[in-house]
């Protein structure tokens, strides 16, 4: 069989004439089938060489057929020679009576007027043994591709007829159901013998569909096979029929049941054996098929294996995999420990539910101290747990969409191995992120551990957390909206701590410099407090003579940056002032001095006021960046702890950055910078990050000592249990450092005595 391009021999004089009549060539017996789509199959009862110097071509009314076309030669010794030419004849050149000339190797070989078309089924009749299958493979393979006819229902129907005829020839056998054949997902046992590599196809009356090949003799179908459907394995295997009518098929369990029983730790259940048979196919399919992945995950999560650990002090080896969680980005984060005082362990590997294992590269293991194990093994005969029995690892590509619970394989030198289940590892991204950020004590953090292990996992998980942020803030308005255009929109994010709210609103309401100029927007980032906050704001608005203020309730706890950005999106003024809820004016009149420099100096993008501790000590007089002994940049406040009237704190002007506790910024510059970065976990460094973005865009940042407010610092951040005693701070700091290292170095060279 070979495909030929029907082309006229170039430059041949008289090619447009009807040469057959002139030369007196013999006609050829033929059958022509025309499908409604324009696909034409022309069967010629003559020998067409499979390979030849010039190949075969058909001239119709003196002109070569335009491509595309394909040719199948069914010639073989001892049988009548036939050839089938397939063309897409959209122009209907092959009409009855058209003058056809068959050329072979460029020379005319036969000439005939075209017969009228015959019904498609005719092609299944009068075939040599095996030719049904050859024609079928030609049609579903070469022909469907070359003529772009894979979706042609009439061609599919013809193929189906051919396949049934071929299957009836009896060489192939049957696909036997392993699970309920009528379910949406079903598994079938197919004969392994003779299956070559290549595409598997499912043929039904209406369609030819490529399907995923079987795995270990198990084929998965994602919809029940229609009656009479035929499976076409790659050559040389013969077509297979579906044995839907086998006895008991209707009472077979569904795939989900099989999977669950196979994964049940005790292996019980009538479907366990069949389940173990289908598991490899399911796992492979799960990589590309979300439904298979879901089925497998559910099977593991609904009946999870009990987590195991080997912590008998009398044994020479101990260990556990305490955390093997998906990073929601294709990787896994591992946390566990291994006690191996006699060096019996050859290596560790990660095992999924199907039993297949992937080694954990020793270089990926970051060993850490585990003081919690010390006591248990302190008097163990074979020795204690060692200085760093713990391990953490991030394996960036180890995750499998069908695995929800991993096991640790501990390979011993003997070749034997231990197998320890981890707890289920598929967790909501926020939960997983917080676990990753708690997996080591901040004191145990080394740069390598943070950069190679904690940070990549936390970053992917935080990205997944952000992907899950759907929904819009719900805004309500109280009191009278500001009559004239407000000069500034004051945005106050609220998170849990509400104790300062009454005082803050009262201070705003009593200060004509605020009341006449500001648009007040409170953004509640702990929406569970809405029942508390909304009535309070409504009441305070009424109490203060219809003070205009708005409340935006976030659809979930999204953190400081997202809450501020949401508030900024609601702002009505061209200047934004972000104020923490624990910031209270020291006296009325604090706002105009803060806004004035922005009005005066177009180069100024942002400005921050003087903030005071509750006893009047300076809390903020501008922010500076300092490098620690390791070269890591830290945020620090100028003059922190200094007396309120210290000359250094009384000096305004450019500063490297200002705190987000009270940050006044031009709205256009804020929006051009993309607002606060939500990529920091929980709330840290967004303010300096914004200032550095504003500076990168050419803006200046200043400090204004004439505007004084008290800041009861950290009252809200420390209320977030995710923040204290975790690596969130270190993660954020490192992220900030990597982004802005060079910028901060250049900036601080300009502010040599900034601290």
């Amino acid at each position: 069989m070979r495909r030929t391009k029907a082309e006229a021999a170039p430059g041949k004089p008289g090619a447009a004439a009807f040469p057959g009549a002139a030369v007196g060539l013999q006609p050829v017996e033929h059958r022509l089938v025309r499908l409604p789509s324009g696909v034409v199959l022309l069967e010629l009862n003559c020998a067409v060489p499979a390979e030849g110097a010039g190949g075969a071509a058909l001239l119709v009314d003196g002109a070569p057929l335009p491509p595309p076309s394909a040719l199948l030669s069914l010639s073989r010794p001892g049988a009548p020679s036939r050839a089938i030419l397939a063309v897409r004849d959209s122009a209907e050149l092959l009409r009855p009576g058209a003058a056809c000339v068959l050329t072979l190797g460029g020379a005319p070989a036969a000439a005939f007027p075209l017969d009228p078309p015959v019904p498609a089924e005719t092609l299944t009749l009068d075939r040599e043994a095996g030719d049904h299958e050859r024609l079928l493979r030609f049609l579903v393979g070469t022909c469907a591709q070359a003529l772009r006819a894979a979706d042609d229902p009439d061609l599919a129907a013809l193929c189906h007829s051919l396949a049934r005829a071929a299957a009836g020839e009896g060489a192939g056998g049957d696909a036997v159901p392993l699970s309920h054949p009528g379910a949406r997902l079903s598994a079938w046992a197919v004969p392994l013998a003779g299956g070559g590599s290549g595409a598997w196809r499912l043929l039904s009356r209406g369609a030819v569909r490529r399907i995923a090949p079987p795995e270990g003799g198990v084929l998965l179908l994602d919809k029940p096979p229609v009656a009479g459907a035929v499976l076409l394995p790659p050559a040389p295997a013969a077509p297979l029929a579906f044995q839907t009518a086998v006895r008991g098929a209707a009472s077979l369990p569904g795939l989900a049941t099989l999977a669950r029983e196979a994964l049940r730790p005790d292996g019980s259940g009538p479907g366990a054996a069949a389940g173990r048979r289908v598991l490899p196919a399911l796992l492979r399919r799960a990589r590309t098929d979300a439904r298979c992945a879901a089925l497998l995950r559910e099977a593991q999560l609904m009946e999870p294996a009990r987590p195991q650990r080997l912590n008998d002090p009398a044994k020479p080896v101990g260990g556990a995999l305490e955390l093997a969680v998906s990073d929601h980005g294709g990787g896994l984060f591992l946390c566990g420990w291994l006690r191996d005082p006699l060096a019996l362990v050859d290596g560790l590997e990660l095992r999924g539910p199907g039993g297949e294992a992937q080694p954990i590269p020793p270089a990926a293991l970051h060993r850490v101290a585990r003081p919690d194990l010390a006591e248990r093994f302190a008097r163990a005969a074979f020795g204690g747990a060692g200085l760093a029995p713990g391990f953490l690892a991030h394996l960036p590509a180890a995750d499998h969409p069908g695995v929800a619970q991993w096991r640790l394989g501990v390979r011993l030198l003997s070749g034997a191995s231990l197998d320890l289940s981890a707890p289920p590892g598929l967790l909501p991204p926020e939960t997983a992120r917080d676990l990753v950020l708690r997996s080591a004590h901040p004191d145990a953090l080394r740069p390598g551990l943070l950069d190679a292990c904690i940070a990549p996992a936390a970053e992917r998980l935080h990205a997944a957390v952000m992907r899950g942020w759907t929904g819009e803030p719900d805004a309500v308005e109280f009191g009278a909206a500001q009559g004239r255009a407000p000069r500034v929109s004051v945005v106050v994010p609220l998170y849990r701590t509400l104790r300062f709210l009454r005082f803050q609103i009262a201070a705003f309401a009593r200060d004509p410099g605020v009341r006449g100029a500001a648009d007040l927007v409170f953004v509640l980032d702990s929406p569970e407090q809405r029942h508390e906050v909304e009535p309070l704001l409504r009441g305070l608005s009424a109490l203060h003579g219809g003070l205009g203020l708005r409340l935006a309730v976030m659809p979930g706890n999204r953190g400081y940056a997202a809450a501020c950005n949401a508030g900024a999106a609601l702002a009505r003024a061209d200047t934004l002032l972000f104020l923490n809820s624990d910031v209270l004016p020291a006296a009325p009149g604090w706002l105009p001095p803060l806004l004035e420099p922005l009005r005066r100096d177009r180069a100024l993008a942002a400005i921050g006021p003087k903030l005071l501790f509750e006893d009047g000590s300076v809390q903020h007089a501008g922010m500076v960046f300092r490098q620690d002994a390791a070269g890591e940049w830290l945020n620090d406040h100028r003059c922190k702890g200094f007396p309120r009237s210290h000359p250094d704190a009384a000096r305004g002007g450019p500063v490297p950055a200002v705190t987000g506790a009270a940050l006044c910024v031009r709205r256009a510059a804020f929006e051009a910078a993309g607002g606060f970065d939500t990529g920091y976990v929980i709330g840290d460094f967004e303010d300096s990050d914004l200032c550095l973005k504003l500076r990168a865009a050419g803006g200046e940042i200043a400090y204004e000592p004439a505007s004084e407010l008290f800041h009861f610092e950290r009252q809200s951040v420390s209320a977030h249990e995710g923040h204290s005693r975790t690596l969130a701070g270190a993660y954020n700091r490192r992220r900030h450092h990597r982004r802005w290292d060079a910028a901060m170095a250049a900036l601080m060279a300009r502010f040599p005595e900034g601290a």
């Binding site: 501790f613 702890g641 450019p654 500063v655």
Partner: protein, 441 residues
């Protein structure tokens, strides 16, 4: 001149003689002699909550007084465990560029702070005043044994008797560390010759010491108590905190004895009982009840001192330890009151027996009662001793004396004398020129 004062406490948080004198001196130097700088006082969580993200906080409204949160202090070895915290103060000191660093106590800051201060301001004259014996006596710096006996100075056996649970090497370690750390100090100030001599006896070099007396603020002297016809000078007063070491119980015992002997008199106790143990307070209450002519008048502030002094004829200083240079004696002299005190140590050095006061045996109620009886009964004695009282130095005197010492220390360091009133030419932040390379020191 730029000065940095460093000490363990601010008098506004907890009153004390050392703190009051240090702040008075600092303010006198600033307000009357053009010095400027920083008064840096340690504090602990018991007095001030630490601020997040910094060790510093304001002491009050003054722009040049700051507190440093210094918890985690080892009072035996004089070591501050917050080494990162100490190190974080260095840039502040360096930026201040003091001409003089004056350390008033090693408590809370600890010995390593001396190195930090020295390193942050290598050209400054470093002066330390030893207001008590902390540097040579781990027993709260009092040179008073666990049994309440006066101690002549540290010795291996003596110190072990006071600290039986400590190994002997601890005392050597402490003495070595203290002497070694204080080597960085250019001049040592002793407020009394007695104190200096104790340190010299303990192995410190006499050459570095200067004896500069303490001082109290100038004030209009309270007039002598008007005597009714035939009246006697028999009213006694004790000023200062009520505690065992200040000899409160000794004074009450003496008063009770005089009452039993039928000697008409009165004894007023002026001072609070803060920080005292319940056991001591019980003893105090019992002793007070047993002394019918004694009265506890309670704590007082500086503005009340003159009024309370006006009611008294004699000031009694019944301290049971050496004392150093008690401000209460200077206060008494400020108001022309003769002083009855123990005949030892810093007290005996300040009060001349039979000239401006009377000496009594230390810690001995009977001996003190005898001296008080003589004071109440001997005609003309009060007038003679009162006339013998010399006005004590005031803060301006102390400031001048210290400026002389500072200049001497700077001269000895070979540095240039600091300008008087060097007005700080500050430029806006960020525009300040920075030398390309530091000039060779």
């Amino acid at each position: 001149m730029r000065i940095l004062f460093v000490l363990h406490n601010h008098p506004a948080l907890q009153p004390g003689g050392t703190e009051a004198f240090a702040l008075g001196l600092f303010r006198a130097l600033r307000d009357r002699h053009g010095a400027e700088g920083l008064f840096l006082a340690g504090t602990t969580g018991a007095l001030r909550e630490r601020k997040p993200g910094t060790l510093l906080q304001a002491a009050g409204a003054a722009p040049d007084e700051m507190l440093v949160s210094l918890d985690n202090f080892d009072r035996f070895f004089l070591v501050q465990h917050d080494v990162h915290g100490l190190a974080s103060l260095a840039p502040l000191v360096a930026k201040l560029r003091p001409d003089v660093i004056h350390l008033h106590h090693p408590l809370l800051f600890g010995l390593d702070a001396i190195d930090m201060l020295r390193g942050a301001a290598p050209d400054a004259a470093f002066v330390a005043t030893l207001h008590d014996y902390f540097a040579i006596c781990p027993r709260e710096g009092q040179l008073l044994t666990a049994e309440g006996r006066l101690c002549a100075g540290p010795s291996p056996d003596g110190c072990r008797r006071c600290f039986p649970d400590r190994p002997a090497l601890d005392f050597s370690l402490r003495a070595l560390a203290v002497r070694d750390a204080f080597r960085a100090v250019d001049r040592l100030v002793a407020p009394s010759r007695f104190l200096r001599d104790r340190f010299v006896a303990a192995g410190w070099d006499a050459e570095r010491f200067a004896v500069l007396p303490n001082a109290v603020p100038a004030a209009v002297p309270a007039p002598p108590r008007p005597l009714p016809p035939g009246g006697r000078r028999d009213r006694f007063a004790v000023f200062g905190n009520i505690n065992r070491f200040k000899g409160t119980l000794v004074a009450l015992g003496a008063s009770a004895r005089l009452s039993r002997e039928g000697v008409a008199h009165s004894l007023a106790l002026h001072g609070g009982t803060a920080w005292q143990s319940d056991a001591f307070l019980a003893e105090f209450t019992a002793a007070l009840a047993a002394a019918p002519d004694a009265l506890h008048r309670g704590a007082y502030g500086a503005p009340d001192a003159a009024a309370r002094m006006a009611d008294a004829d004699w000031v009694v200083v019944p301290s049971v330890w050496w004392e150093n240079a008690p401000l209460v004696i200077l206060e008494a002299f400020r108001h022309g009151r003769p002083v009855i005190c123990g005949g030892v140590g810093g007290m005996a050095e300040m009060v001349r027996d039979g000239v401006d006061g009377l000496h009594a045996p230390v810690g001995d109620p009977a001996g003190l009662a005898a001296a008080m009886r003589r004071a109440a009964e001997e005609p003309g004695l009060w007038d003679r001793l009162s006339a013998g009282v010399r006005p004590p130095p005031d803060m301006d005197d102390a400031a001048r004396a210290h400026l002389g010492l500072y200049a001497d220390a700077l001269r000895r360091k070979g540095g240039r004398a600091p300008q008087r009133n060097p007005k700080n030419r500050r430029q806006p932040l960020g525009n300040r020129a920075r030398p390309v390379a530091a000039p060779p020191g």
